[in-house]
Symmetry: C2
Subunit: 337 residues, 2 copies
DNA sequence: CTGAAAGCGCTTACAG
DNA sequence: CTGAAAGCGCTTACAG
């Protein structure tokens, strides 16, 4: 790289101190600097194409105007959509975002947190994987501002922004019942992640409260790895036998993606044979021959709230803000009566 | 935040200079420091939970170990997949990535470049929007390492990693011809972006060289804005009249997404009435009842190459490396004979 | 084997 | 209205 122009270069050219240059370029002490000198400083800065070195500024001010975003996988449409919203909101506040993908792996997320903290991010937005409680506690101990998003740990008092997953799953299941379905399956991950458990809990509650005799084989909890085959196997089990399910709730867009592909390939008729609802939308789901009924998370609001809370926390540590937003149910053909 | 532990704190505790602490923690001058002291320094660092302040280190070393990634839109699956690959490759080299979305807008990309440069990123990976030549020239002037990805400006000599879009479109069009299609349409964006022009050029060449009488109405070039309606209109025009097209090439995954949705809704039979090929894959496309034949870009290789070239350029400025990789054609049901 | 010291490019109280 | 100076937390020649 070329030698960069520094404040000192401008100061030398104009024949003033770097202090003065700094004040002018930061629009400080407005009234107290002679207009003429201020203008000469500005002109020179422009002529030399001066760019402030944020690293030096950060070291001095102890602010980097950078936030770290840790998601499970930036290539998952749910997270990349969220990332885009967070990017835009951050930008409005002159913040820049560094991202990292944890792959739902606590070791990776721990390393990411460490890297980002070393880089002195002003705060973090994290979708924490299971078993990462200690990392969250570490951030609390170190008094590093952060907001959990999508998931959280009910036992730890932190900022978070999520949806009411219990209610969302309950509503979806109730919808199946309302359109007359009697045997309702659900495919989800076997996981300690709170939001997934809430989804299963909501599903079970709705079934119970409607006095539908529940069969344990209706709820399939998959290992997160080896997903594709497991999903196919789960679907087979749900559809085989004399009492196949007539409705199916997918607990994530990824599961829905694989699941629909498989339903396609084995020629199941949706919604006639099987009504289907998925958590989260995805361009993908629109191309299924029966556009999917889905649980729509208010991503925009979630991203906005996360940034807002984070910036407030950066400003001054305050009481944790905990937001359980309400998700919508977008009803389409996959649950048509 | 809590007061952070600095090198000085460790130095004070152990009773040595910060220089020594720095050497030990960076594993420098290994043999020349007494084992005993080194061990005490390490123990103390651990006990105090020392984290190095990367900002201070960066200021001194003039390296931030950060790269900037500017794409059109991080929520577009093409770019988020690329981002994920770049993230992983960067991580292997201890680099971290800051991203930004330009929305194909040169003003936005200009601002992003400025922000990232001010933040002293060591280098940039950019998918440049149209009319951003001046920004690229600025980077060259300033001798800031960068690699263009996905698109580039043939008139400017830079590092870039892209596919041979001409060839990819040619191959796709040839495939239509090989399966007996006679009236082949293409929907693309009206744009000065080189890669899109190359796609149109490849399509036209294939038609010409196969001596198919080309009709200008077959090539639809849309304004990038208001896409959905434009695509529907374009499809209507292509399918209306006595001589509807019997094959259709979509020049991006976004266009394909909207296009397929519309084909679905108007009940066109793929591939019987209309054979279809799209640029780029997407989970989405698998859910279309006739899984799509698509042009597969070697994303993994592209991301890897981009990082490799960038890091080499950061190491020492060298001759521009220009990679036109070959895309594959994945043949599926949408072009079945 | 170890330390004193300069310096990276800024900001900001303090003094005048 | 303006400047000299300290300091943010590191690294690294240099000296011993």
């Amino acid at each position: 790289m070329l030698k960069k122009i520094s404040l000192k270069d401008i100061a030398n050219q104009v024949g003033v101190s770097t202090a003065l240059v700094s004040y002018v370029l930061n629009n400080q002490k407005e009234g107290r600097i002679s207009k003429e000198v201020a203008q000469r400083i500005r002109d020179t800065a422009k002529r030399l194409n001066y760019r402030t070195n944020q690293v030096a500024k950060s070291l001095k001010t102890n602010k980097t105007l950078t936030i770290g975003l840790i998601v499970a996988d930036i290539s998952n449409p749910f997270f990349s959509s969220l990332a885009r919203i967070i990017e835009d909101e951050a930008d409005k506040n002159n913040y820049t975002v560094i991202f990292g993908s944890s792959d739902e792996n606590p070791d990776k997320s721990g390393k990411l947190i460490e890297t980002l903290v070393n880089r002195q991010v002003d705060g973090l937005i994290i979708a924490p994987p299971q078993n990462s409680e200690s990392q969250v506690n570490y951030l609390i101990e170190q008094d590093i501002p952060f907001v959990l998003i999508d998931r959280y740990f009910p036992a730890i008092e932190t900022n978070y922004v999520a949806i009411d997953n219990y209610k969302a799953a309950y509503t979806a299941t109730q919808h199946f019942i309302d359109i007359g379905r009697k045997r309702i399956g659900m495919i989800t991950y076997e996981s300690a992640i709170f939001n997934l458990n809430e989804r299963a809990r909501g599903y079970l509650s709705a079934i119970k409260e409607n006095k539908i005799p529940f069969r344990t084989t209706w709820l399939k909890e998959l290992r997160p790895n080896n997903t594709k085959l497991c999903i196919e196997k789960a679907i087979n089990e749900l559809l085989d036998g004399p009492q196949p399910v007539d409705a199916l709730l997918f607990s994530s867009n990824i599961i829905a993606g694989w699941g629909l592909k498989y339903l396609n390939s084995i020629g199941i008729k949706v919604p006639d044979q099987l009504a289907v609802i998925s958590f989260d939308e995805s361009e993908a789901l629109d191309l299924f021959y029966a556009p999917l009924t889905y649980i729509k998370q208010p991503l925009q609001e979630m991203g906005r709230a996360a940034i807002k809370i984070l910036l407030e926390t950066i400003g001054k540590s305050s009481k944790p803000v905990q937001l359980n937003m309400e998700a919508g149910l977008v009803i389409r053909e996959s649950t048509a009566v």
